[in-house]
């Protein structure tokens, strides 16, 4: 299915999770006919929704905004894979040329006890905000900063911090973890800030507070399945979890 198709238009069968309220839910089947392979996956859903609307039916609710892979709003499972089959790709960047004529796609929302379903494919990811509130920042008020070049930071350090800071907060790591752990998300933020000299003064309180909040928000533990790394659309490395663990141990020693 991941092979690129040459055919310009394809036909697909979609099994989409529909949910409006706790008891009203289940898969529905839709036929996506004559889909151009230049379309993005979300444009394909747009086409289905236009059709449903004209038929007087309820269109499929799904989250999306930037449609260029940076805001972290979109995301569903396609045949059990978060953001679909392409590596390092958000759902909105996935194009139909990666599917073959006649494919059946099972489309579901993120499933995790920390994320409640709002409607159809839309979930509530606000627990991720709660974790950031616990300490995912550097405490500096506007107006207090020294000159930006006062502290040189080795290029390599800045680049590694940037690798971690690239997390878009989409929640795919949580959705693909068998334990519904948010360790990759938290590890990315901890790494980004702990690597930089500006982030060091608060490093210990930060890691404690964020890990505790993660537990409070019902995310599970990390038992090294590495599904998160495989499915992360920004290819955030699992070494960030290792760094989180090191930082956490350090903070316990003091």
């Amino acid at each position: 299915m991941t092979s690129t198709t040459d055919k310009k238009n394809i036909n697909l069968t979609l099994k989409i999770w529909r949910q409006n309220g706790p008891d009203n839910n289940g898969f529905e089947t839709y036929y996506a006919d004559d889909i151009s392979t230049d379309m993005s996956f979300l444009e394909m859903i747009d086409v289905i929704n236009e059709r449903l609307t004209l038929e007087g039916k309820d269109p499929v609710a799904f989250d999306h905004d930037c449609r260029e892979g940076i805001c972290g709003t979109c995301g569903t499972m396609i045949n059990g894979r978060a953001h679909g089959p392409e590596k390092g790709t958000t759902l909105c960047q996935l194009h139909m040329r990666h599917f073959a004529d006649g494919d059946t796609l099972v489309i579901e929302p993120w499933r995790s006890r920390a994320f409640k379903i709002i409607k159809d494919l839309v979930v509530d990811r606000s627990p991720l905000d709660k974790i950031i509130q616990a300490g995912g920042y550097i405490s500096v008020n506007a107006g207090k900063a020294p000159d930006a070049n006062a502290i040189p930071i080795p290029q390599e350090t800045a680049e590694t911090a940037m690798d971690a800071a690239a997390c878009i907060g989409c929640g795919a790591c949580v959705a693909s973890c068998p334990n519904a752990s948010a360790m990759l998300f938290v590890g990315a933020k901890i790494s980004h800030l702990a690597l930089l000299p500006q982030g060091k003064p608060e490093a210990m309180i930060r890691v404690m507070a964020m890990v505790n909040e993660m537990d409070r928000q019902c995310f599970g533990n990390c038992t090294n399945h590495r599904e998160c790394e495989a499915e992360c659309p920004k290819e955030i490395s699992i070494t960030n979890i290792a760094r989180l663990n090191r930082e956490f141990i350090k903070s316990g020693l003091f």
Partner: protein, 637 residues
Amino acid sequence: MQLDAKIPGGLLTEKWDRNLFELKLVSPANKKKLDIIVVGTGLAGASVSATLAELGYNIKSFCLQDTPRRAHSISAQGGINAAKNYSNDGDSIWRLFYDTIKGGDFRSREANVYRLAQISNNIIDHCVAQGVPFARDYGGLLANRSFGGAQVSRTFYSRGQTGQQLLLGAYGALMRQIAEGKIKTFPRREILDIVLVNNKARGVVTRSLITGTIETHAADAVVLATGGYSNVFFLSTNAMTSNVTANFKAYKKGAFFANPCFTQIHPTCIPVHGAYQSKLTLMSESLRNDGRVWVPKNPGDKRSPDQIPESERDYYLENRYPAFGNLVPRDVASRNAKMQCDMGKGVGETGLAVYLDFDDAIKRDGKDVIIKKYGNLFQMYEKITGDNPCENPMMIYPAVHYTMGGLWVDYNLMSTVPGLFVIGEANFSDHGANRLGASALMQGLADGYFILPYTIGGYLAETSMQKVTADHPEFKDAAKKSESRINRLLSIKGKRTVDDFHKELGSILWEHCGMSRNSEQLLRAQNLIRELREEFWENVIVPGSGKEFNQSLERAGRVADFLEFGELMVIDALARKESCGSHFNEAYQTEENEAKRNDKDFCHVAAWEFAGDDNEPVFHKEPLAFENVELSQRSYK
């Protein structure tokens, strides 16, 4: 009404200091008693919310997204300007000021732009302190690159995702204040109206996008940081939720709308490829540092790019503008791309594209260096087009990207409605008729971290206000009106979808009020929009109910506002009988086909006042005085 921009007296270089001194202060004890509503959590909204909370005010922060971190600012790619002169190439506050005024084709306020250039340096300091991972050179100091309209290198960046990193910094600051209890957030809430009590902005009507519940919120002042309206064109580089609703509602409540026809068409976007297309993707202007723009010399040349020899290529920007080359400002680059395509020299399947070629840069610097600079942009391009820019030149075409027009504000960023402040892309203030690259992020953060936190204090300190709550009849009345509009939209049950109307509106504006305009076309557009609006209210179909998560209903409300607002853009374009920056009226051009201003009659801001649904808006003029720079024909040759 005479517009008073409240520009402080004295030397240009001293105005902001003087203003800071003259503004009354709110005591720390009183700040704790004051409530401020901030709509929007992009760079402008997040930074102002955090800073106001740091100062002690109580903030309510609203946004459409499920979390503040996803506001449209997240997708800014290329960078943010500052006059640090770290590159030691002759930059200065004055030069950044001058470039911005000239880039805007002399249609912005000197005092605002100078202040922006002054503050630019504080922004970089603050963002570095927050942990924004800007690019660095081998010595560990901050790196810079160049953007259009400048001959110095003053743009700070985090790979191709500068907006993301700056927004995460501001979002972190916002989250910190939530934890402190100074900010309350309301995500997935849409502002449907602004509420005035005794002619002052005192609150908002909102709809929960999850449950559909209509709510009202009262405060001592309201800040709109609601972004731009590029999506009036349907296809733009903006996020899908970007809209004009809150700003348009403010306009209807008495806030003047300034220069609505100044819309920026960005030269380097991935070309349109099908009728189902939902948005356009920008390829950052930073690519023009190394990419060379060209088309075949001969119209209709359909050979693949590698088959076209050097001698048969037209590097039209380098040829026409030797001094700036590929780095001319956006309006100039876009118009030239259109001209080449109009001459039949466009490339690709549709003929509506030009090449952006990295071949020479790769030969010069090596593939690794180029990938390091632009890797994520190349990847984005490849995902969409299935083509690799290291092997074949990119194909690009202009697309709607940014709106210089916005709600009119004075020097203190207050609109014509007392207590209603407007910041970031939502206001009109700093970019004149064309914005230079990497200066929107600068403006949003200048407004949010360093300007409004002080100027709003001046208003609150000198205005005596009674406490009002959301039980006040004005709130009830506004909520009822919002609700009945929703019911009306749901009850039409027509035959055309919301998107279908939106697409038609977009194509009317793109054809008639886009990269080039003329009076005849604009008049036609005005009629077409009116007809479309009428049809919308008779024939739109909005499924579902108002009391649930209903994305069709959300879009219907926004498109209904775009259908009114689009006409205002056209009216503004018709009234400006000159060409300047992004506004290119074919009747006014130089012999070399550049925009020809008419400074005698149009050296002003056009500010429109709402005069009722059935009346033409009323025109007001804020004359622009240039005391520190000489008005000249813009030249990038």
